[in-house]
């Protein structure tokens, strides 16, 4: 997809979200390719991945020689046909076919079990991501590099270095939105991957590094005003604060209560400070994903403390063997 076409596609989606995409505007922002919004891309990615997987299974079941290579080649050929002839881009289908095709091909490689296989898989993700300009595939490739580095106990450091590089890359003006998305995805996902890799024996260093990462992102956020910087700062600082809990010996509930109250207070204070602002930092409603509220409701339902009382003890049941947990909830008898 050409640069201007990609820019038009992204601007169209933004204007659509603000209900400003009238037919004349859409006509001016010409996008000859067939594209989808993010949510629909996810649906098509899953369906196409299922089709690719089933085709791989079919090749196996039919006893085709080198089924991975055959299935992979067919998937990539179909993806290229869709991109080149049918002009499908950002539909989710071509990304799944490219990724599925390459994974099918490398499934034919001899399985050595060596850690370098992570780099091979990472290369596959990077290749597929670069071809279909999918930022999540690119970020997944970087995560695999971090996983490889963790074999040498350097996972967290490499993750944060790559994360800082992504933050700095976001300072540049990129003409292609997908390039910016790649760095945005790396800046958000890599610190989380690094945290997963962080060992307890490096805890002090982990805290310092994540604190520095969060502080850098916050400073950049305040100077450059980009949501990704603020979100990266939240991630970095959350990790630093969570890890530092191991050095401050207070009960878990007190720790959680203090942290929770502090967050609510910050929200109140900033809201109060920005009330009435019409320029600079403001509080006008903004939906980053298009489904912010739905995501928040889903996260609330998934993470809310259990609220189910256990059944009353049966007659003859000897009490005392259970625990009680959650927000007044999960009877664990």
């Amino acid at each position: 997809m050409k640069v201007q076409e990609e820019r038009n596609y992204v601007l169209r989606e933004r204007l659509r979200g603000r209900k400003l995409l009238t037919p004349p505007v859409a006509a001016q922002l010409d996008v000859p390719s067939r594209t989808n919004g993010v949510l629909v891309q996810c649906v098509f990615f899953l369906l196409a991945a299922l089709a690719a997987g089933a085709f791989f299974g079919l090749c196996h079941a039919l006893g085709v020689p080198l089924p991975g290579v055959i299935a992979g080649a067919v998937c990539i050929a179909v993806a290229e046909y869709l991109i080149g002839v049918k002009r499908w881009f950002f539909t989710g289908v071509e990304a799944a076919l490219w990724l599925g095709g390459l994974l099918a091909i490398i499934s034919e490689l001899p399985h050595s079990g060596r850690p370098e296989s992570l780099l091979v898989v990472g290369t596959v993700f990077a290749l597929a991501g670069a071809r279909v300009r999918n930022p999540l595939l690119g970020a997944a490739a970087a995560v695999l590099v971090v996983a490889y580095a963790e074999r040498f106990d350097r996972g967290a450091v490499i993750a944060l270095l790559l994360g800082v590089a992504a933050l700095l890359a976001l300072l540049r003006t990129w003409r292609r939105p997908s390039t910016e998305w790649l760095f945005a995805a790396c800046a958000l996902i890599l610190p989380v991957a690094g945290w997963i890799c962080a060992d307890a024996r490096w805890r002090t260093l982990t805290i310092l590094l994540f604190l520095a990462y969060g502080a850098l992102a916050l400073v950049l956020g305040l100077r450059k005003r980009h949501h990704i910087f603020f979100l990266a700062a939240l991630i970095g600082l959350t990790v630093a604060v969570t890890e530092s809990r191991n050095y401050i010996h207070i009960p878990a509930e007190a720790w959680l209560a203090i942290a929770g109250a502090l967050l609510l207070l910050i929200a109140y204070a900033v809201t109060r400070a920005l009330r009435g602002h019409e320029r600079g930092l403001v509080l006008t409603p903004e939906d980053l994903t298009g489904i912010d509220e739905t995501l928040q409701i889903a996260a609330t339902l998934a993470l809310k403390p259990e609220s189910s009382a256990p059944p009353p003890p049966e007659p003859g049941f000897e009490a005392g063997g259970g625990t009680f947990g959650g927000a007044g909830a999960s009877g664990d008898f």
């Binding site: 939105p177 939240l234 209560a257 967050l263 109140y268 509080l283 006008t284 928040q296 927000a327």
Partner: protein, 309 residues
């Protein structure tokens, strides 16, 4: 190019005749970051705060039962929850986004407290599971009073738990078979449709509709979990999908059409694959049906784009 990061300034300048000066200037101010909304970050922070406080409250209940006693703990929790509700109500004329999350905290504390009281005092005895119904009513009242969709969702999930189709699924009332689970899910759907017809808040209608559709599909998929009712479940799912798709087209609601179609494809595959004894034909069927689904979904998506244009 602009000195800023990704910016659509050139395109917006070109669109000025179509968008008008006021809209273009607003959009340009955003592109230049002269106006930058911190609302998404603050919502995230406030939500995190509410969730952490609710979790802390749960641990307080768990760890201090012997030291403080159940009655005092239950009262403390009730006072905290009431303070959240009253505080938000009191500030309603100058409400900020953080108030939404104080309300959420209050609702989570109520949920925890009701469950705690029931677990300690067994007020409902053998009918203990009715505390879910109580929670459903309380959260529904809160949702209407404060116009909160989050509280409405908490209410619906509590209702689903009362019916035995959520939270402690498939067994908190003893083992339940596929038919019983399907009946309960169908009951949930009926409640949602009734609530939808009685509802007077426009912003709540989609919530009821989505839950009604998913409970109904849940009922058909419950039937598919047992061999004896699998065919019936598949046929019902396909029929229901046809109804939901038709309704989605009539009301121009793409999300319903998309997921009804996906449910139908899964039901169709299960229906056919169960009747096949060849692995290869099973895979072939999966490939063909998935490609067919992709093609059909593309057509549906294009149709909706045309309708929107």
């Amino acid at each position: 190019m602009s000195p800023h990061m990704l910016s659509f300034e050139p395109e917006l300048h070109d669109l000025r005749p179509l968008l008008g000066d006021a809209v273009t200037d607003t959009l340009l101010a955003r592109e230049r970051r002269e106006v930058f909304s911190l609302q998404p970050e603050l919502r995230l922070i406030a939500w995190g705060g509410a969730m952490l406080l609710a979790t802390a409250a749960g641990i307080v209940l768990k760890n201090n039962l012997d030291r403080i006693g159940p009655l005092a703990l239950a009262l403390l929790m009730a006072i905290a929850a009431a303070a959240c509700y009253v505080g938000v109500w009191w500030r309603r004329s100058r409400a900020s986004l953080a108030d939404d999350y104080v309300l959420l905290l209050g609702a989570l504390l109520v949920s925890g407290d009701v469950a705690f009281i029931e677990s300690q005092f067994h007020l409902l005895g053998a009918n203990w599971y009715r505390h879910y119904l109580l929670l459903a009513v309380v959260h529904a009242a809160g949702a209407y009073l404060y116009r909160s969709r989050v509280l409405l969702t908490l209410s619906i999930t509590a209702m689903a738990a009362w019916l035995g189709i959520e939270q402690r699924p498939f067994g908190f009332l003893g083992p339940i078979n596929a038919k019983e689970l399907a009946l309960r899910a169908a009951g949930g759907c009926a409640v949602m449709l009734m609530a939808r017809s009685l509802n007077r808040r426009a912003e709540f209608a989609p919530v009821f509709e989505h839950f009604a559709a998913n409970f109904a599909f849940g009922a058909t998929f419950a039937l598919m979990t047992e061999g004896g009712t699998r065919t019936l479940g598949c046929l019902l799912a396909i029929t229901l999908a046809a109804v939901v798709i038709a309704w989605g087209f009539r009301t121009r609601r793409e999300a319903f059409v998309l997921y009804a179609f996906l449910y139908a494809v899964v039901a169709f595959d299960i229906l056919l694959i169960e009747r096949l004894d060849s692995e290869a034909i099973g895979f072939l069927l999966l490939v063909v049906s998935t490609i067919g689904a992709i093609a059909a979904l593309f057509a549906i998506h294009s149709r909706f784009r045309e309708l929107r244009a």
